[in-house]
Structures are given as structure tokens and as C-alpha cells.
């Protein structure tokens, strides 16, 4: 160890401008109890839930997302960070609803039929929640009827589909084609992701975008939702 001076930090003794970056570090290190404690301290200090979400949690997860994108962090570390994020969100979620905090948008997400891989999809869910989106997770092995049913009942802005297998990725096209047949393709932003996919594949099957990883998914979702809102404002 380079530095052995492992002073125990008492979170409640840190001023806000030190507590917030410390919470970012704790998120990065996946320390969920510390993150929850930090959230509670800020609440006690009169921070609005939405401010805690954006300034303490989302900003911390952005660092995690960037390092994941850049190949510095890998899935185990990101899962741990996302779990810590979840602990903070569990406290904030009811308060955000109560205080009528602004919403980024809503996403329905699921891993496609025949595929049980949910690691990437879970990461996207957690990072999207971390960025302030409402996420409805349909789980794994989702068939076209389940996707379409959820679109109808949840009325999301975004549909997210994930596939990890060469044998399951074409199913995304089945879903998108069915949406087109029913005349609802244009009503939703469709984002796809998964290890075997690439941008060109996303375009070829008619998705709005391919997202290389969870961090990119969040950025893409934000950009598309903003564009959609602008269009609605203009129209």
C-alpha cells in the first residue's frame, strides 16, 4: 500500500463540498452503505432530493460510466457501483416522486427471446435510473408480444432491447418490424445493444441507435429524448 494513513472518514463531519466528491469515490468503489449514509446526510442538511440525485449520484456514476467506456473498469466493478447507486436511489425514489422532481423520460427494456443474458441489460437499467429515467425492466427472454404489451401499458419514450448471442440478435428486427406493421414504430425511440452488435447492424434492422455500452446508452437516450421534446415543442 502506498499510503497507510487510512484515517477513518466520518462522512457527517465533512462539509458539503468534500462530502459530495467523497460520495463519488464511494460510488466508484461500490460502497453501498456509505453511499446511502451520504444521501441521508445531505437530506438532513436540507438538500432537495433531485439535487442529491444529479449532483452527488449521477455525477459519480458518470465517472464510473466513462471508465467503463474507456476499458478501465469492467463489469464486476460497474455492477458493484450500480448496486451502491441503487442503495442511494432506494432512499431518493419515493422522495423524488413526492417532490415532483423533473423526469428525464421513461424506458421499457428487455433481453430478447431466446437470450437469458441480463448483465448488459441490467447495467443499462441501473445507469438509466441513475441518470433519472424511469425504467421498466421486462427481464430476459422477452417475446414480441411482451414488448408490445409493455409499450401500450407503460407508454415509454424509449424501447431498449439487448442480445448477447449471434443466434438471438436478429430477433430485434422481428420486434421492430412488428412495430412498423402496427404503425407504432415512429412513436418510440428504439435503442439496441449487446456484445455481438454494432452500429451498422442497429441501422440495418431499423433501430434509432446502437449503444456500445451502458454509458453510451444513457448519453444516447438523453440526446434522443431532448430531440423528441424539442420536436413536440416545435410542432
Amino acid at each position: 500500500m502506498a499510503d497507510e494513513e487510512e484515517d477513518d472518514i466520518i462522512l457527517s463531519e465533512l462539509p458539503d463540498d468534500e462530502l459530495v466528491p467523497q460520495m463519488g469515490d464511494d460510488l466508484y468503489d461500490g460502497l453501498k452503505d456509505e453511499v446511502a449514509e451520504g444521501v441521508n446526510i445531505l437530506l438532513e442538511r436540507g438538500w432537495a432530493p433531485y439535487r442529491i440525485l444529479t449532483e452527488a449520484l449521477v455525477s459519480g456514476m458518470t465517472v464510473v460510466g466513462n471508465d467503463f467506456r474507456d476499458g478501465i473498469l469492467f463489469v464486476p466493478e460497474v455492477l458493484q457501483a450500480a448496486n451502491a447507486m441503487k442503495a442511494g436511489m432506494a432512499i431518493l425514489k419515493p422522495l423524488l416522486a413526492e417532490t415532483g422532481a423533473p423526469k428525464m423520460g421513461k424506458m421499457v427494456i428487455g433481453t430478447v427471446k431466446g437470450d437469458i443474458h441480463d448483465i448488459g441489460k441490467n447495467l443499462v437499467s441501473m445507469m438509466m435510473e441513475g441518470a433519472g429515467f424511469d425504467v421498466v425492466d421486462l427481464g430476459i427472454n422477452t417475446d414480441v408480444d411482451q414488448y408490445l404489451g409493455a409499450l401500450e401499458t407503460e407508454q415509454p419514450d424509449i424501447l431498449g432491447m439487448s442480445a448477447l448471442l449471434t443466434t438471438t440478435m436478429p430477433y430485434m428486427k422481428v420486434v421492430i418490424d412488428t412495430m412498423a406493421e402496427r404503425g407504432i414504430r415512429g412513436d418510440y425511440i428504439v435503442l439496441v445493444g449487446g456484445a455481438p452488435l454494432n452500429e451498422e447492424f442497429g441501422r440495418a434492422i431499423g433501430a434509432d441507435a446502437y449503444c456500445r455500452d451502458a454509458a453510451v446508452a444513457v448519453e444516447t437516450a438523453k440526446a434522443f429524448v431532448a430531440r423528441k421534446h424539442n420536436q413536440m415543442a416545435a410542432g
Binding site: 468503489d29 476499458g71 455492477l79 449471434t166 451498422e200
Partner: protein
Amino acid sequence: MTDALSRLLDTNDWLMADGATGTNLFNMGLSSGEAPELWNVDQPDNIRALYRGAVEAGSDIFLTNSFGGNAARLKLHDAQNRVAELNRIAAELGREVADAAGRTVVVAGSVGPTGEIMEPMGALSYASAVEIFHEQAEGLKAGGADVLWVETISAPDEFKAAAEACKMAGMPWCGTMSFDTAGRTMMGVTATALAELVDKLPYQPLAFGANCGVGASDLLRTVMGFAAAGTERPIIAKGNAGIPKYVDGHIHYDGTPALMADYAVLARDCGARIIGGCCGTTPEHLKAMREALETRAPGPRPSLEAIAEKLGGFSSASDGTGENAAPPPRPRRRRRS
């Protein structure tokens, strides 16, 4: 008596493995989202044709159609009770094709990942993973597989669990991981780390290596990482035929037979002894690979630049090994214990 793969490795400098399973079955009409393993029973002629395609193209080893044949994966097709049957038949069909080949062809029982995350990050315990793999291993053994072939793994514990299951089944085995994230596996394993992991296993594989992942270039960089780790064990290279594209309603990998021929020769130069393809690799690719391996002379280990020039660029600047092993330290505040 030693197993068929060990015998072939003793008498050959290099061996050719097979190509894709999933993408080739698509070409025979498998629809997306369906379990390929069910075809062992429902469309056995297609599975025979798949195996024969590899054998006739010159493969010394082919993998059985059992990649997703574990209980965790078959569960979503409500076929979790058919693990023994589907794996046994996958191997039996393979045995039939291999024994009719007129030369030694190894039937390698494919064992893919469970798809679950292991503890403590996920819910799958080490003991359950061993049990899941063992059930599949026994099925493949009963059907007459020569070796078990654990592939596309990303987590070290899952690799270890599979090794233990192979030991319980009393079967020789080979194991490969998929390095698809900045030159590492999804779980962050580098080429060096896998080479070290393999050396420490209580029940060691006949050969180890990399399969699938991103493209042929990345895969060869990984193979060079194994070689640089100083392993004496045969190295396996099974890379995808380029990257997937969606053409006229189906998946097409953009790597040509000529490119895969170059890849095969470069893989040998990088230090691989078992060379094959993965997704998108058809018998046509395999024929070109076989011919290249037989007719082109082995060369010195290529540089990364030479690989990029022939096969295309890398997906990331570094693969986390060698001089770039440690990322620059993040400026940190005080760390707590």
C-alpha cells in the same frame, strides 16, 4: 489409452478446428430465439450436415451442437429436463460423422456459459455452477465425445467450475474465453490472467485459448498475450469471421474466406496450435483456412501492425497486458479501509 485430441497434438504441429454453429444453423433455417440444441432431436439431419460441413472442409476437431445445452440456458425453452438427452444426442451425431470420416476427427463436446452471474456479484454459486456443468458433461460423455470444450467464458470462477465438472466426468477438456471488451473478457480478464489461471488449475486442460470476441485482429492480439505469458500448453484460436451485418433478412459476417485464410496463418505464427473460426465461419472459410495452413510456410511472430494491416484494426488501443497493464491511477481522495 490417451484421448484422440492428445494423440493428434502429439503428431501434428497444428490442428484445424471448426467454424460457427449458430450462424451456420441459421443458414439452414433455424429461427432467431429458438434453442439450437433442440435440433439435435428435431432436425438431426441438419446437425449431421453441420458437422459434415466442418469435416469435409478439413477440420480435425469439431464442436457439438450443445453450446447452450446446460440447465440454466435450456430453462427458457422449458427444456431444462432434457440436458442429458440433448447433449448425449449432440455427441452421438458427432461420433457418427467423425467415425465415418476415414481419419481421426475429434468430437469436442461444446460447453457454453451458464449466462448467469456468479456470486458475490450475481446469484449463481460456485457449487451450482459445477453441478450445472457436470450434468451437461455427463451427457456429452455418454454420447461419445472425445473431449469437452468449454467456450465463450468470461468469468474466472465459471471457468474453474467448468474445469471441476470436467474432472468429475473424468473427461479431458479444452477451455477458451471470449475477450470482447477492450481486449479483456467482459469480466475484465486479460490474456495474461487466463494463462496464469490455467496454470494454477488443479485439473488442467489439454489446450486453452480464445474464441469469439470482436474480430480476427483482436483475437490474435489475445493469442500473442498467451504466448508472451510463456505457456507451454497448446493455444487455441477461434475467431469470428469479421463482424456481423444484417443483409437481406439474415446475419452475415463480413470476413471473406481469403481473410480467414490470412487469419489462420497469422494465428499459427502468433503461437496458436489449434486454429478454427467462430461466428460467421462457414465450410467455405474453413477450406480456405486449411489450404492456407497447408501451403503457406510458417513465419515469425507478426507485429501488431502487420496483423492490423492484413486483418483490420483493433477495437481498443490496449488489451490490458504488457506495458499498458495498469491504467493510470485515478487521482483519489482518501481511501477508507
